[in-house]
Symmetry: C2
Subunit: 397 residues, 2 copies
């Protein structure tokens, strides 16, 4: 028996491994050194009170015979699905409860969703990209078309930049983007939707960072764009919105009107879920529901504001220094051009050695990320303030 | 774009849908009737105190900045992996911590694991079978060889019964079995292990009901059998062991020594998990760890004893009536031959109409289940006692 040979085509990702080696080497040579970690993609603030209260109540339910919950509906608790559909409606987007699927998070869903597409498709991935997009497609034997983003298009590539004659079955769009923090406008997304409909592709829209959008003109969801109910799947997460990176819950929207090749992809996903899962934990779904209460929304936005203030401290320093960047305003990531034409890893080493600030080399997100660098705004405010101060001092010299 | 066309080959399963229609019709015609539900595969007892305490503590951790947990290791909390490896060691089975993968449950894992096998393989499935085995294989384009079990082989088919010339890449074994409750002996499993090694197949061993084994001579794990480290993956669940059907946690064992076609399937699964998940919820993993403490083990076995007493009430009635059955002793299911040569659905209707007892027609688990019937022992003791009494009265007439 020969297992899935597509795995032989995977390349090892050394990005975070290399970073940790370099940090360990530095700490070995500089015992007790204080580091300012601006690279981390994880959140640092705990869950908000409304979520904690709901989680405790749900645990109590599981302790009592008359309130105990066994198997949950595979596609999600109907009440939570309704709540999330109302969250969409609050932004004038008409998504019905049965078009919302509760998931264990976006990364799980980005992997699992491949199953309804089948094998040996062509996927278009805008780079720099979240590395798991690429790997999940290699595992399934898909061909990958890489669409390079750069400073010249504000890291927002458009359909007219696609090389002649290349077409795709699946188009990945992440907006607000990880790692660049760039956000597509309505008009830009409309071009992508029109293009997808024209070439019969399906867009997988990763909206994990939608809650960071503060500019009212920018779309939170691809379903705010006309024509999308026939061509898109949206994958969302509470990881960054509500600090669920370690608690795990997200949601996916597949319109009932999404057909390809005469097959209804919404119904295919229902069939997938009812076969391949027994649903998300009752306890976690109760915690997730609390995120969407008025109290929960107020509390999570207080946390998001902390991260936004972190972003402002860093972008203020970059503005003063005349360093080019995108993101940081409607996104939790800042993507900057390394000063003095440094390479991504060269800049990493320089920051670590000189001012003990750690970020993520852009080259780790695809070759067009070379010469760029990602800062996360999820760290502690004190560390971020100190990092911004040190960067300002270092490059003002 | 044409999605996964294998989905067109799926057949709708009407088993539980038909059951609920028949129940609804009965209740509409008999307002307020009291039903005795012996069909349900879900547990009825709440989580034990040790687990509840651990879940509350973990929720508290998520509320405090200094104890908050973000992203978990994708393959599971190292401490929980070590704990589960010690659970194996307590039965003299040598499984290292890094061979244990924490999952969201067996049904999730049975679906996800297909990815490392790739498409268009041949899977051997013993019927009657858990329907998801069949559907997950159809979705991936696999050919299915059905190996019929029956009264004559005690619902435990052996390799020498395989039709001439048929061979498989994957062999599913569920022991203790759902739906039949039959359990393979060590000698029988050894024959399957030898056969799998001979034909280069991998066994997927579903051990979801291992905690119900009370006969010390029966194997809890396929890794108790010599030669298995080269040919098996074991998928376990806390759903029935500890009442986690709605709380969701399980574990999978893939030996580091499992190679096929020169590829290391353990390492492939590590790569799959690090790409396609961000791990199981911190809170849920803390609850799962409490299952393996001495206190947790004592408490879950008290619950299992309740279900075992249910089993005894039913089998005592069947013994008195001379009804053939298997299971019920080392398994939470009882599989019986319908009395008076009734068909599965005929027997269902008869029990519902005459004594308001509900079970699951065996025909729903594959055509060789026709004429058989499954009783679950997960219901309430009072209902089970009454159901057993009514069955005894009905067939003593």
């Amino acid at each position: 028996m020969i297992p899935n040979e597509n795995y032989k085509n995977l390349k090892d990702s050394y990005l975070f491994y290399n970073i940790s080696c370099k940090i360990n080497d530095y700490l070995a040579a500089h015992k007790g050194a204080r580091l300012y970690r601006m690279g981390i993609g994880d959140v640092s603030l705990p869950l908000c009170d409304a979520v904690i209260k709901a989680l405790h109540e749900a645990v109590d339910d599981q302790s009592k015979k008359e309130k105990f919950h066994g198997y949950m509906p595979e596609c999600g608790d109907p009440e939570l699905r309704r709540t999330i559909s109302e969250y969409y409606r609050s932004r004038n987007t008409d998504i019905s409860a049965d078009e919302v699927f509760v998931s264990s998070g976006a990364s799980d869903e980005l992997g699992d969703i491949m199953d309804i597409f089948g094998n040996y498709k062509t996927a278009m991935i805008m780079e720099p990209a979240y590395p798991a997009y690429v790997d999940a497609n290699i595992m399934t034997g898909n061909e990958i078309i890489r669409l390079s983003a750069g400073k010249e298009n504000g890291f927002l590539p458009m359909p007219n930049e696609i090389p002649d004659g290349r077409t795709a079955d699946i188009i990945y769009i992440c907006s607000p983007n990880n790692p660049t923090g760039a956000v597509f406008t309505r008009e830009q997304l409309k071009s992508w939707v029109d293009y997808a409909n024209k070439i019969d592709a399906v867009i997988i829209f990763d909206a994990a960072y939608e809650a960071f959008i503060e500019d009212d003109t920018l779309p939170h969801s691809i379903f705010e764009i006309e024509g999308t109910r026939d061509c898109a799947i949206e994958i969302c997460s509470l990881s960054k919105t509500a600090g669920f990176t370690g608690t795990r819950c997200g949601y996916t929207v597949i319109p009932r009107t999404l057909y390809r090749g005469g097959m209804n992809m919404h119904d295919m996903w229902v069939r997938n879920r009812t076969t391949k899962t027994n649903g998300v934990s009752y306890i976690i779904q109760k915690g997730a529901a609390a995120v969407f209460t008025p109290e929960g929304q107020e509390q999570i936005h207080k946390n998001i504001d902390v991260y936004k203030k972190n972003a402002a401290m860093l972008t203020e320093a970059f503005d003063k220094l005349g360093i080019w960047y995108c993101g940081g305003k409607n996104a939790p990531y800042i993507w900057l051009k390394c000063p003095n034409d440094m390479g991504s890893w060269e800049f990493f080493d320089y920051l670590l050695e000189k001012i003990q600030v750690i970020g993520t080399p852009g080259a780790g997100f695809g070759s067009c990320g070379e010469g760029y660098f990602r800062f996360s705004t999820f760290g502690s405010p004190d560390d971020t303030r100190e990092a911004a101060k040190r960067i300002l001092e270092l490059f003002s010299k």
